[in-house]
Symmetry: D2
Subunit: 373 residues, 4 copies
């Protein structure tokens, strides 16, 4: 059940066919989900509730053909590698990875290895991959470093278009959102001939603040009704940060946007997050990247092998960019709701449990507020 | 009638005594409101619906004693001078002005003149004032350049603490918000011993998108019910940009924040704007500045006259910054609602009319959505 | 006499025909120079040593047709309006002005007035002009606010291609550089079919630090040999900031650069400044803007009147951008030297004198260091 | 032999006792140098010419006690993780690592592992380490991923104050600078009671552009005299990018700087790089971080365990910051020269050789230009 299946229509625009980032032609998503063991936390052994998600930006050789991209930091208590290059050259040079906070490095280097392998280890292949993270240490043995290069390669092999698994999958496996079980979510919007897709790894926020389409759902379903995993973390004398957590947002579009226009879209992810009730707390790593595949055939990062002095491009006229901006705000809001609805109750290390957001209860709350008539 | 008078309580924090930016000790606000003439637009003659608002940041010599500050751009189709200095040195060096788009220059230079006068034209007085703007050309003869230095000096003389006039005053005189009459609004929040105040000049947004405390008020009060001034602009074959417009947000706090912490607060203004339904359209100048008076006695911009090699400061521990961040998001949302409620219906040039948001109608809509029980 | 006339060839690239920013086709420069009175400073009366310089970016209707642009802040103790729009939309929307610190406002509003006039005050004309400044208060009655709108209009009327007056002209009239007389300077470089031009208003730096083409000229011509105006300022008990001051740098090119590429060029202005010996002192406003005319026909800032959903562009392939980057570093260095060589000794308010850099003496120093063999 | 041993005194300030970043009290540096094998490149086998360098910022528990920091990007064709946190919170949260481009990930995760180990894998330990890189693929089997976690731990164990090995050590092992052998270099400057130290991993630049203290050394020692390793790379039909390469710069000071002041220092690293003749080519990752230990006792990144609502700080008065800014520009210039002088001729994969800059020859060139009289 996704938001629209419940009759919750965020915003005023129409989604794409799958209502997913994969509605943008050529975009593929792959997950490796790692769930193993139960019981007390034993660093290095488990329990394991983590994974890696990859977003492949186009259907060409992603290791040598970049696409235009931009980024935004709503709050920087997080990591998203590769941003200096995106900001400097406006280019996303390969596959985006999302994982847990302590596995960014292994995913990053494994993506470079994949690039090198794809080119027979030929000289001069190099990369500055973008890998983001959120913290799953409430449920997962994060200091066990369970994500390995092979998991990254598996996610790459699994990457496909079509419907995307949401919730407790890939990098989102062990994530918590508004003190419910969170994880991966996606949505899309049509803008004339173009599509805007959003994928989030949602791991942020206090219950009390949760708004869904403006309805104060968090107050209607307080932690006294559906308990919070952070209370259990707190009881263990570990660090309880219900308002911490983070969200990574990936925006894809086939509109021919220039890099600075992509950055504008990236900032609108935060507007969707704000509508959910977040104020982007100190502990959050709210980092967003947007890429646009409407211009293809761009030259690789470096080297001297492109005989073209200039390339021809198209650019969306700014006077017509508004629907693309709005699509990101709407799409982000809906992607987060989809993550919440898809995620199933999960019990992780030390028996800590993050409960699913119950769809029937949500519908009842929405009706109490004059929605879903 | 302000939002709280209607029973609308945005967020979960308590406002200060006046629920205004002037709850921050030492902060003063002054308006010069210019309303003159009716009928067709005659550039240079009128009709005039504009003005200037000044925010005085503290009770000392604001021309020589700066306070820490930070800024954020949500969308840059606007002007807010002085930002390079705020970003570089983290300091706000004087009074902030807000006016219409075409009067930023006169207000800026007049503020420098005021600084020079305050110091008997003494040598070495100079300044980089912060002056922001939104566009009031739908109601005002903006190309008539009706704001003069004397209006700036009058606003400075009028600057006072205490309750602040909202709505059609000062820089907000001719502004339009969500296709209702907009203008100046303010709100505040208590954070322990500290106060966070927000003042906005609200001039943005489409009716359809308006959410108040999450309730889709804009859809409930469409332009077919309460007509939009932009439709009248459009009928005149002038430029209709209902989704354009802009919002300037000023945040004040007496918490001892460092400059980078002020910048974090500034970004949260945009989260309040997002909750109102805005997606920060292309045509908007959504520029925000936050200043903190919790550290005083900072040295002036330049010169070699401070014998102190270092100064002692206090800094809010980041682990405790969350309520300050949240206060900005909440306070912005409420300040915008206050602007909408305070602004009265205004007819400007060419008979164009921006209607007030009717308080009774708003209450009815909120009740329909399970609020104000 | 300019640097090349003395045999000083900065860098390894060739200049354009005029070795000026006007080598970029369509770029025009106009100055209004205000020199009046002598003797003691009487605020409001004089002496006057100031002015305004305008850079017109292309040969079309600059008020409605923008060009791509980017900006960089090396040090922000200064003002350059319009930067938020340049950073957001990557567009320069009109004429750039340069003047003294306290006249930015009047120049800004006058440029808007010029835009409105050029369009018969038609509705919907508006602008966010870029106006920069450096401080000429050591020689000029800066608190007299002697720059008036008419001076801006005169500079616009005077704007022309061809050779550019350098030194004590326009905005550069009262400027001081490395404790010599400074002001306006320009240079250009050829990059294949393209040209890169730089124009500076140079008003920064300590004598001791001055390097010309790497030669420590400042040490060879100390203030004991050629006295510093700042010592005279100091003797007056006014503020002496020999290491303060500022530099505004404008880069123009006809290469088809995108906005983010323009920003990269803008940052390289600072590399030229660094080679001159500056470390970008606290008191400096070192703000740079670069624009590229290689893509024309871009849509105006706002409104809904462009029927084109997309526009076709060209973009310099990044692999070939290096000479453009290098041209800015070289061109800036040479433009500053040109400003120093063109500026003539000037006596300003209170009899303060800024001495010219003597060309013969410079040649001798260069020869002592193995140059100009 | 270091620059000063040859009589080359860059700038006008005095170095600290060791003329090294370790002159800043508490700062320690450790290298692991990996040199193994000769002959043709066999990916995964070698030859190996790489390593890792760590900079430990203070003498406390660096994993839980951050220090203020700021960053700057001169050119972003590189990686330096952790920058979003530095920009957001102004804090450096642990040890800085520097390595080759393809080993950033392994070093990053290993630093987190070290943090977790140092705290007995206790719950709630987490980190966002800063790890930078430059590309050593001309000499090293970079796609062999030869840096392992154990090498990071070894560098941490080796970290010490006192004199620092320069040249072909640690992350600098396989680096090339101005087509000579490059690598690690360091320098420092005294600013009253304070010290500013700079450490670089220098791997950038064309020979022709090399200036040392303003003297055109590169032209005097062209690649026809001392051959370039890039010509050999080119002959192998691998990618030749003599003007590519990168430089990572780390600035340390014990002055009590706030985060935004640290960022100002970080930008001045680029001014030192510019004085060496670089124009920051497209292919360069010129990323700089500056940290200040003058305020200690700051709270860790997150959690709710600090009972202090505010902390007391000191801040350098901006009017006195100039020598700190200048120290960075000077120190960077000298650190690069030291790297060039310390690095010995190295032959790497496929027999490619990067030659050392010969000290005697350098002295002769300097004398030809009126220096080292």
């Amino acid at each position: 059940m996704r938001a629209r299946d419940l009759g919750i229509h965020i915003g005023r625009m129409e989604p794409g066919e799958l209502n997913a980032i994969t509605d943008v032609s050529g975009v593929r998503v792959g997950h490796t989900t790692l769930i193993d063991g139960d019981g007390p936390l034993r660093p290095g052994e488990g329990p394991i509730r983590t994974g890696v998600t990859v977003v492949v930006p186009h259907d060409g050789d992603v290791w040598t053909e970049p696409v235009f991209a931009g980024a935004h930091r709503l709050n920087g208590n997080g990591e998203l590698t590769g941003l200096e290059w995106i900001r400097e050259a406006g280019m996303l040079g390969g596959v985006i990875g999302i994982t847990n906070t302590h596995s960014v490095g292994v995913v990053r280097d494994a993506l470079i290895e994949a690039a090198a392998r794809a080119h027979a280890m030929s000289d001069g292949i190099w990369a500055l991959p973008s890998v983001g993270e959120t913290y799953d240490g409430a449920l997962n043995d994060i200091n066990g470093f369970h994500v390995r290069p092979a998991h990254v390669h598996a996610a790459l092999e699994a990457a496909a278009g079509g419907p995307i698994a949401e919730g407790n999958v890939g990098g989102g496996t062990g994530m918590i959102c508004h003190e419910f079980k969170g994880g991966i979510g996606t949505a899309s919007r049509r803008v004339g001939e173009w599509t805007v897709g959003v994928l989030v790894q949602a791991n942020y926020g206090a219950r009390d603040l949760l708004r869904i389409d403006g309805v104060p759902v968090g107050r209607a379903m307080p932690t006294s009704e559906v308990s919070s995993p952070w209370d259990e973390v707190d009881a263990l004398n570990a660090r309880a940060t219900p308002e911490g957590g983070s969200i990574i947002g990936i925006v894809a579009t086939d509109a021919p946007l220039l890099p600075h226009q992509c950055a504008r879209l990236a900032q609108r992810v935060g507007m969707g997050v704000a509508r959910m009730g977040s104020y982007a707390s100190h502990g959050s790593g709210d980092l967003f990247v947007a890429f646009a595949t409407g211009n293809r055939g761009l030259s690789r990062n470096s080297g001297e092998d492109d005989p073209r002095l200039t390339v021809d491009l198209r650019m969306v006229v700014d006077q017509h960019i508004n629907p693309l901006l709005e699509a990101v705000a709407e799409g982000t809001e809906e992607a987060i709701v989809n993550a919440l609805l898809a995620a199933e109750t999960m019990t992780g290390r030390d028996g800590i449990t993050a409960h699913a957001l119950d769809a029937d209860r949500l519908v009842a709350v929405m009706r109490d507020h004059g929605r879903l008539a």
